[in-house]
Amino acid sequence: MSARTWRRGRYALAVVAAAAAIAVTVVAFARPGPSPRGAFPVLHAAAAPAGWRHLRLPNGTAVLSYSPSLRPVAGDKDAVSAARLSPAGAFQLYLNATPRQGAERLRNWAAFRLRLLRSDDAVSAREVAAAQGVRFRGGTGSCVIDGYVTRIGAHHYDEIACLVQGRTSASVIVGAAPAAAWARARPLLLRAVAAYLVR
C-alpha cells in the first residue's frame, strides 16, 4: 500500500469521526433536560385598581381584592374566595385568602405548599418559581408559583400562593387558573396578589 493511499484513508476516517462528534454534540445539546426553576416575577405592592372589590377575612386580619369579573364563592368559614366560572361551572380564575393554620413558615413556605398539595388535593405538584422577602401592603411574604393536577377530575391548575406575615398575623393568598389559561390569567392574579393587604 502506498503512502498516498494510507493518507487518504486516514483523512476519510478523520472526516467520519469529526462528523460523528458534531452530530453527538448537536443531539446532546438539543435534548430537553430538567426544567430549570424560573425567576419569580417582581411584585409591586399597590392598592387595587379602581372598581375592584374587596373581601375582608372574617378575623379582620387581611383584605383580598378582586376584579369585578370575579364574584365571591363559598369556602371555609374563616376564609374568603372569589372566582370566575365558565357557564358550565368550571373555574377560570380563583382567588382565596385564608388565615395561617398549619406549620407553614416564611422560610419553608414553598416546600410546605407543595407538600400540602400532594397530601390533600393533588396527585402531583411541581414548583415553577419561588421567592422570599416579597413586600406586601402591610407585611412581608414568601411566595411560590407551581402547577398541580387534582386528585378529583385530574384538572391541571397553575397557581401563585403566598404566605404573608403582617404585624400581628399571617395569612395565605392563593391565585389559581387552569394551566392552559395561566398565561392569560397570570397578570390579573399577580395584580390581586400585589394588592393583598395584611395587618
Binding site: M1, T5, W6, R8, G9, A12, L13, V16, A17, A19, A20, A21, V24, V27, R31, P32, V73, A74, G75, D76, K77, A79, S81, A83, G89, A90, F91, Y94, N96, T98, R100, Q101, G102, A103, R115, L116, S119, D120, D121, A122, V123, G147, Y148, V149, T150, R151, I152, G153, A154, H155, E159, S171, V172, I173, V174, A176, P178, A179, A180, A181
Partner: protein, 92 residues
C-alpha cells in the same frame, strides 16, 4: 476502481480502522434514542373540563400526611374537595 480496491485492501490489512466509523454510528444512534420520549413539562388537556365532575378513573392516592381534609365534598367547603383549585388552608 483502483482507489476503492486500495481502500478495501487497506481495511483488510488494518481491521481496527473499521471500529471507528462503527463506534461513531453507535454513538449517534444512542444519542438520538435518548432525545425522544421526554414528557412535556407543562400539563395540558384537562383544564377546560368541569371541576365538579366525578373522576374518570381512580388515581392511586398519595401518601397522606396527618389530618388530611377528606375529598369528595367532605371535611370543609373548599372548591378543592370537588376537583377545583386548592385554597390556602393549612390542612387543618
Amino acid at each position: 476502481m483502483t482507489i476503492l480496491a486500495a481502500r478495501v485492501k487497506e481495511f483488510q490489512r488494518h481491521p481496527r480502522l473499521l471500529a471507528l466509523p462503527a463506534a461513531a454510528g453507535l454513538a449517534i444512534a444512542l444519542a438520538a434514542c435518548g432525545s425522544s420520549g421526554s414528557p412535556s413539562a407543562k400539563p395540558t388537556g384537562a383544564a377546560h373540563s368541569h371541576p365538579h365532575s366525578a373522576p374518570a378513573h381512580a388515581a392511586k392516592p398519595p401518601a397522606q400526611t396527618a389530618n388530611p381534609i377528606p375529598q369528595g365534598n367532605g371535611g370543609d367547603h373548599d372548591a378543592d374537595n370537588n376537583g377545583g383549585p386548592s385554597d390556602g388552608d393549612g390542612n387543618i
